[in-house]
């Protein structure tokens, strides 16, 4: 007993011109008869791409948090700040709401995103049938909060642009911010590569045909 889906009915939609057509049989590449675009019923190589980007993000997550993101030079001396030391500074200086926000946006979110995407990809790979609706909702949440991860990068960029008093005070972006930006972009790409329809395919909610054909 399965819900009626496009794949179940043997239909494809062109992602460019929105033409609905009948899918060809066999392992062949479908082409839109109207605009000639390549048509996939699911994102091609979705899981592989997601995994590749996830692993890259995870690798860069370490230097992004270890290396300083910002070097503040002032008459009080030079200071190198990592993301975590910035959070610690905000916390000790009393602005703990800001500390919580930065910690949430810059440290927890990328990490949660990595873990959540890894969980989703694993569950699809293991053809899990458990609570597909909840997993789809998790995916939506990831998409939504992912954009907040760039907060720290933006803060550094704004400071670098604003605080430039030469000898008195000077803020420079350090290499850490590059790795951090990479992590954020890679996780965004990873979540984009992930096709949530696979959750439902794997759960067997979609009928008969091989849902994971590309």
């Amino acid at each position: 007993m399965s819900a009626p889906t496009a794949v179940g009915r043997g239909l494809l939609a062109c992602s460019v011109c929105e033409l609905v057509m009948r899918a060809p049989s066999g392992a062949t590449q479908a082409i839109c008869p109207r605009c000639g675009a390549r048509i996939h019923s699911r994102k091609p190589h979705s899981l592989a791409r997601t995994w590749a980007l996830l692993i890259s993000a995870a690798v860069l997550y370490l230097p992004a948090n270890i290396e300083p993101v910002m070097i503040t030079t002032s008459i009080f001396g030079a200071q190198r700040d990592t993301i975590l030391s910035g959070v610690a500074y905000l916390w000790t200086s009393g602005s703990w709401p800001l500390a919580v926000l930065v910690f949430f946006a810059s440290i927890s979110v990328p990490l949660l995103k990595l873990l959540a995407l890894a969980f989703l990809a694993t569950s699809v790979q293991r053809r899990s049938t458990r609570r597909p609706l909840a997993r789809t909702r998790l995916y939506r949440i990831l998409e939504f909060i992912g954009r907040w991860s760039m907060l720290d990068v933006f803060v550094v960029m704004v400071l670098v642009a604003l605080v430039n008093l030469q000898a008195l005070a000077n803020v420079q972006a350090a290499r850490g911010v590059l790795w951090f930006g990479c992590v954020v972009v890679l996780t965004m790409l990873a979540s984009m590569s992930f096709d949530p329809r696979l959750i439902w395919d794997a759960a067997g909610e979609n009928d008969g045909r091989d849902a994971r054909r590309t």
């Binding site: 043997g10 057509m21 009948r22 008869p33 270890i66």
Partner: protein, 543 residues
């Protein structure tokens, strides 16, 4: 996806065109994690290879030091960072765990030094002002040793001189620490050439050791003949040579200092070695006086008052201070009171100024024999006025021709040096000599001679008078007689005035005497005109 009732049937939908599926191997996207891994590996390798050695510095206190913040600087360049701070087991010290930058790993050698830089005033300059804003940092001086070391004990004070300053260290020994401090300048001919680096008590507490650093190239002026003295503040002195004010520089008045000078010909001596020891004298005068290896005690007994002769007054030989008075006592001997000045005489002070061997060594005399010889040719001690204004006296040794023969009795302790009356009494003596000479002039005889001559003259005049009277009384008839008388008179005058006449002789003698007396007076007045001071000081002895 709900089925729409009025939608077209699947059969009416167009059929997708089909192309041959591209058979890809591994998707290109796997390059991304590969690159990420490479980056990660590169960063990891970099951070491992760039991590310098960890080491420990021990300090008394961790004041101003923060873990993860405090930097280690060498020549104001960051070379390391404090990683953690902990107390030693017995809580007496603080262990600073720090890490050096990789490139500075070989700075950690046996004689490297660490100290905490805080703002302070050192010598005449203020240092570490920047730490007021940036906080303290740990200063470092890299040693020259090749032996590696990982545990250091931090210095309590910032060293004044760093190891790479060219120059030499010297150790000055003194009885007490003068008004000098760390960083006090060292002057050479009033030119700042070095600094006081440290000072400490001797191990036995008997004196103070001051370590100074003389910068190159000035360190070459320090040799075995160099004397150091405290050039601290203002030195105001009132002594036999009057008032003297001595100071090296304005800075030395404020922060104290040390000066040095080399006695004699500096070129003759080799520069002193590193860490050579010198005595630190109280002042320039004592520093530059010659090393008094041999001191001979003498007693000088005088008949006159010694008011104005103080203990420490110089014993002078024609301008060279050869000794100093150590004590003054009255002594009774032969029913008379003598004032006895005890003094130490340093005979080598005269000898070492001569180039080559002294006369004494040439003759092979002992010091005692040399003094005997000097006394034999007339050397005597005399009290003289050093300064008319202050009335200070000194003992002068000089050679007096015609002094009564004397001898030093070396068995006496201390031996008595023959003396001669002081110069003030000498003036009286001179005056007495003059009066004696004047008294010797035969004024009476001269007067008698004169009286006699005048008597004869009177007689002549009387006979002339008589002649005139006779001429008056016995007029013309007796002209011939008168003429004959006149001839007689003239004969008599002729007799009187002739060479052999007694009148003539007496007069000449008298005049001779007078001219001699006048010449003597002229010599005296001439001398007084040229040397008016001799009225007070007396006539200097003939050389």
């Amino acid at each position: 996806m709900a089925e729409t009732p009025d939608g077209p049937e699947p059969g009416e939908l167009p059929q997708a065109r089909v192309v041959e599926k591209r058979r890809g191997g591994l998707p290109l996207v796997w390059i991304v994690p590969l690159v990420a891994l490479l980056i990660g590996a590169w960063l990891a390798w970099r951070s491992i290879s760039e991590t310098g050695p960890a080491f420990v510095i021990t300090f008394k206190t961790a004041e101003g030091i923060e873990a993860g913040k405090t930097k280690i600087k060498y020549k104001s360049v960051d070379v390391g960072l404090v990683e953690s701070i902990e107390l030693s087991r017995d809580r007496s010290k603080v262990l600073i765990h720090a890490r050096m930058e990789k490139y500075a790993a070989d700075y950690l050698v046996e004689d490297s030094r660490f100290w905490v830089v805080r703002p302070r005033i050192i010598g005449a300059s203020i240092q570490g002002l920047d730490t007021l804003l940036s906080g303290s940092f740990i200063g470092m001086d890299v040693g020259s040793s090749k032996t590696e070391r990982r545990d250091f004990s931090g210095l309590a004070e910032q060293p004044v001189v760093t190891a790479d300053d060219p120059g030499r260290h010297f150790i000055l020994k003194s009885d007490a620490l003068g008004s000098i401090g760390l960083g006090s300048p060292v002057y050479f001919r009033r030119f700042p050439v070095g600094e006081v680096e440290s000072y400490q008590l001797d191990k036995d507490g008997q004196g103070v050791m001051t370590r100074v650093f003389i910068k190159a190239p000035y360190d070459q002026y320090v040799n075995a003949e160099t004397r150091f003295w405290e050039a601290s503040g203002i030195d105001l002195k009132l002594n036999a040579s009057g008032v003297s004010l001595d100071t090296e520089s304005l800075a030395s008045i404020l922060v104290g200092g040390i000066a040095f000078q080399t006695r004699g010909d500096a070129k003759l001596a080799n520069p002193a070695a590193e860490n050579a020891e010198f005595r630190l004298f109280k002042n320039r005068e004592t520093a530059l006086s010659y090393e008094d290896v041999v001191a001979m005690p003498f007693a000088f007994s005088f008949k006159e008052s010694l008011r104005g002769l103080s203990i420490g007054a110089p014993v002078d030989f024609r301008g060279i201070v050869v000794g100093e008075v150590t004590d003054i006592q009255p002594q009774f001997a032969n029913d008379a009171i003598y004032m006895v000045a005890f003094a130490k005489v340093y005979p080598d002070r005269t000898a070492t100024r001569q180039v080559g061997e002294s006369a004494r060594l040439k003759h092979g005399w002992t010091r005692e024999q040399a003094f005997d010889e000097l006394v034999k040719i007339g050397m005597r001690a005399q009290v003289r006025t050093g300064n008319l204004l202050t009335g200070q006296l000194y003992i002068a040794l000089d050679v007096f021709k015609g002094a009564k023969p004397a001898k030093i009795d070396w068995d006496e302790k201390p031996p008595r040096f023959p003396t001669i009356q002081g110069s003030l009494t000498g003036v009286e003596e001179n005056i007495a000599t003059i009066t004696k000479k004047l008294a010797a002039v035969p004024f009476e005889e001269i007067g008698e001679d004169l009286r006699r001559s005048l008597g004869e003259l009177e007689q002549t005049l009387k006979s002339m008078d008589r002649l005139v009277k006779n001429l008056d009384q016995e007029t013309r008839p007796e002209v011939s007689e008168t003429l004959a008388d006149l001839r007689k008179s003239l004969d008599s005058v002729e007799r009187t005035l002739s060479q052999e006449a007694p009148l003539q002789q007496d007069l000449r003698g008298a005049l001779r005497e007078i001219s001699r007396a006048a010449a003597s007076m002229r010599t005296l007045t001439d001398y007084l005109e040229q040397h008016p001071e001799s009225l007070i000081r007396g006539k200097p002895e003939e050389k």
